[in-house]
Symmetry: C2
Subunit: 317 residues, 2 copies
């Protein structure tokens, strides 16, 4: 009797690259958010591609068996974690390794665009106005990167390659990484404060009005972590009062940002629909990663990128 073919339930709206490689080795079943609860009991594996959805968190506590393994094609897992998933025997893995470099490049793009005043250059071109401006030298400026996971570390490495003096802040101090006790001091001297932390109970709302008050009036704040790290009203107030010089948000408390949101029009704020991790090859790379992980799982070998479900991220290194 052949081994039964496991069922991989895929939560995604769009067709997926590379999963065809699993033909014959897995039964691929697609679902949207509405059909998730009904199909969960028959799935061995759940693959979450639509990582803007909270469908997993909503469907998980329901009735019936649950997949033994959940993989999310994202770095953060806050969109799917819930007490019943955390308490279960289900293994959760993430897409560590895919997003680090694109996110770091995106941060470098924002920092350089701000230093070189590129948004104003584009405005002046639209107005056909020739105006020489002095712009900032990036080398020698100071960055404080909050979040010492692989994304934060890659951002720090990229900024250092551009001769930015960069400090990395994590949950616990270790070699080359500052602890939370150094955060205020580092933020108070930084030209660039970059949020790249996971969303956990400790980090939710950590960038609040007090925090923006600590920064220099010439400082810029960039969030590529998760929207709820930031108290958005406090950021808007800090910008309006010129406590800080500017900001760029790649993630928001509510996504998509409503057309009526005041955030679209806050002076000094660049609104980037979430794409820091998006690259031409991103979805394909995610597909390749899942196929490799499936092969490990099917062979009974240990999975990689295993999330600590209590902490809410992949610990280590």
């Amino acid at each position: 009797m052949p081994t039964p073919v496991p069922t991989v339930l895929v939560l995604d709206a769009e067709p997926l690259p590379r999963l065809g490689r699993l033909t014959g080795r897995a039964r691929i079943v697609h679902t949207d958010a509405a059909g998730l609860a009904e199909r969960l009991p028959s799935a061995d594996v759940l693959l979450v591609w639509d990582f803007t959805s909270h469908a997993v968190r909503e469907a998980w506590p329901g009735v019936g068996p649950r997949p033994r393994w959940v993989h999310t094609a994202s770095a953060g897992v806050d969109h799917l974690m819930c007490p019943s998933l955390a308490a279960s025997g289900t293994v959760v893995t993430n897409a560590r390794g895919i997003f680090e470099q694109p996110v770091a490049e995106y941060v470098a793009a924002l920092v350089l665009a701000i230093a070189k005043d590129l948004p104003r250059t584009l405005d002046l071109q639209r107005e056909r106005t020739w105006r020489h401006r002095e712009t900032r030298r990036l080398a020698g400026t100071r960055a404080c990167v909050v979040g010492s996971g692989p994304i934060g570390r890659t951002i720090a490495r990229t900024l250092k390659a551009l001769d930015v003096t960069t400090a990395l802040v994590g949950r616990v101090p270790r070699t080359g990484i500052h602890g939370p006790g150094d955060l205020d001091r580092l933020m108070s001297r930084a030209d660039w404060v970059i949020a790249a932390a996971p969303l956990t109970e400790q980090t939710r709302g950590m960038f609040d009005i007090r925090c923006f008050g600590v920064m220099q009036p010439s400082a810029h704040f960039i969030n590529v972590g998760r929207g709820p790290l930031v108290v958005e009203e406090a950021l808007a107030e800090a910008l309006a009062k010129r406590w800080i010089a500017g900001a760029a948000l790649d993630v928001f408390v509510e996504e998509p940002l409503a057309p009526g949101s005041p955030l679209w029009r806050v002076p000094g704020l660049i609104v980037c629909p979430p794409q820091s991790g998006g690259t031409g090859g991103g979805r394909a790379e995610n597909g390749v990663q899942f196929v490799e992980m499936f092969e490990r799982w099917a062979a009974g070998r240990p999975l990689v990128n295993v999330v600590d479900k209590q902490r809410g991220y992949v610990p280590g290194r």
Copy 2:
């Protein structure tokens, strides 16, 4: 009898930082372009700050003694070189060392902004439109930097730090630098072609329609060298016909670019009023550099950054 205090004639419209340090050691006389010819005969040194002006080239061939030393606060010297200056005993020096890093950062800013589609992000924000887009990964793309002087080499180093595979092309091949014979092959494979060459008889108009035809349809062209390196009509045509994907010009054949120039509105072209070298500290750094060079000159020590007046740039290294 005290040594006579030399006269430093300064061609610039704006007040200058740091020249006050020469008080008592030099007589500083300011002039605009119109007064230059009249004042040249009484000047020992000419300091050209307004390097967008052709006033030197126009005034030099006139009557009377000429300064023994001309320093320009720019990397290029094409704006002041003329046959009579080239044939004279006057030493010409430039601002080598000041512009390398700001220009390289500016190129990195443009390359990253294009890869991450930042101009479109700003457009979408203006329209309050939330749209996820896949963008390009910069790491692993290929650049061809044309011009192997200090600026070209610093651009290459900066792009390499961002994991861009970068080739440098110079007038003569040497270690780590390709010769002109490799240019077509390198351009045909490049994602980014960056012009950073001096303007000489050999380089004038080198980026012509043939050249844009060699590039990939996905390639972008960036000019931070001198405007006349590029046949602007050919670039506009190549963009209109989608022979290349986009371009950014920091310098132009005619500057300032007239409000009626069609270049303001060429699709895919970013127009940057010349500022790649401009940084907050730029003018002060130029002032410090001139003061140091003046001290060498006054002490009879050899000058640095001496331009080969036949070639039109500082040779070497």
